[in-house]
């Protein structure tokens, strides 16, 4: 029996024609109670290369366009057979149901936040210097500095910007990055078809924070909101 390549966990109507997967295989549904996985039976897993990533994303987007509640699977997720997949789905039915409820009728916008050139982009280094206990090794100093800059708090102006977007946002994940000038990635779950309004609001919010530069992409299927609650 061929292993299963998993594209998404979703609520799928009975008898839906799902089209084909990234190896041209027909997509199928494996159900476990209220949740289903959309899978393809493949001979071997896809290469982790750009064309396969795009193909995976294309399939997920097609499913998301068709169904209102879709959790994209991470690229490369496999199950050995139907029974193993059903068991795995059944073990976390509650979590999937909650996540499906959260993303229903919504899509994701992704914002990369940079410290603008010429601005004093020192929050990360300042925090590091603050915590520089001479007795601690570089690893401990790094971890201490990192612990101090969780979420939006370590980036001046970011929280204010996020507050301005809040009316359009159903859920938010903020990831800090160490590699300045990229200081944070923000993932926002927004109502479908609101991305134009979101971009407009982001542009206004960004103009109030000249020390930051932001680059938005999307709408995306809700990759960042596919598992657990943030």
């Amino acid at each position: 029996m061929s292993p299963l390549y998993i594209y998404a966990v979703a609520e799928i109507a009975d008898g839906a024609d799902l089209g084909n997967g990234l190896a041209g295989e027909s997509l199928e549904v494996v159900r476990a109670g209220p949740v289903s996985a959309v899978i393809g039976r493949v001979v071997q897993p896809p290469e982790p290369a750009a064309p396969s990533l795009r193909a995976h994303d294309d399939v997920v987007r097609r499913l998301a366009a068709r169904f209102r509640a879709v959790l994209p699977a991470r690229f490369g997720s496999m199950a050995p057979d139907d029974e193993a997949l059903r068991t795995a789905l059944a073990e976390r039915t509650e979590e999937y149901t909650a996540s499906l409820e959260r993303v229903r009728g919504r899509e994701q916008m992704t914002v990369r936040v940079f410290v603008a050139e010429g601005a004093d982009g020192q929050p990360a280094r300042a925090a590091e210097a603050d915590s520089a206990d001479p007795a601690a090794g570089p690893g401990a100093r790094y971890l201490t500095a990192r612990a101090r800059q969780g979420g939006a708090a370590g980036v001046p102006g970011l929280q204010a910007m996020l507050d301005r977007l809040a009316p359009l946002v159903a859920a938010q994940i903020v990831e800090r990055h160490e590699a300045a000038p990229l200081v944070a990635s923000v993932y926002h779950l927004v109502e479908r078809d609101s991305s134009a309004r979101y971009r407009e609001a982001l542009r206004e919010a960004a103009s109030a924070a000249p020390q930051l530069r932001v680059v938005a992409s999307g709408p995306w299927p809700p990759y960042a909101f596919a598992s657990g609650a943030p």
């Binding site: 998993i6 966990v9 996985a37 897993p45 290469e47 982790p48 750009a50 990533l53 795009r54 995976h56 994303d57 959790l71 994209p72 699977a73 991470r74 690229f75 490369g76 997720s77 496999m78 199950a79 050995p80 193993a84 997949l85 795995a88 789905l89 999937y96 996540s99 992704t110 990369r112 940079f114 603008a116 050139e117 010429g118 990055h177 160490e178 590699a179 300045a180 000038p181 990229l182 990635s185 993932y187 134009a196 971009r199 407009e200 982001l202 542009r203 960004a206 103009s207 000249p210 530069r213 680059v215 938005a216 992409s217 995306w220 990759y223 960042a224 596919a226 598992s227």
Partner: protein, 69 residues
């Protein structure tokens, strides 16, 4: 898809699409069975490079013009 500013257009349509794709498709998304293919063992490395390339792309862009903001 209309982006607000020229520098945003540039980054979005050039590099960001692939970089965002890598971030979203390899680094996010639900893992159902725990069996993610072995070929993806280098994903952390890919993701580290994502940050580096995003930053490099940022430096290629013209500095923001305050008058436009």
């Amino acid at each position: 898809m209309k982006a607000p500013a020229p520098e945003t257009d540039l980054l979005e349509e050039a590099d960001a699409s692939l970089l965002d794709l890598v971030d979203h498709v390899l680094n996010k998304g639900v893992v159902v069975t725990g069996d993610v293919m072995l070929g993806l063992a280098g994903v952390d490395l890919v993701y580290l490079r994502l940050s580096a390339v995003l930053c490099a792309a940022d430096r290629m862009l013209p500095p923001p013009d305050p008058k436009k903001r």
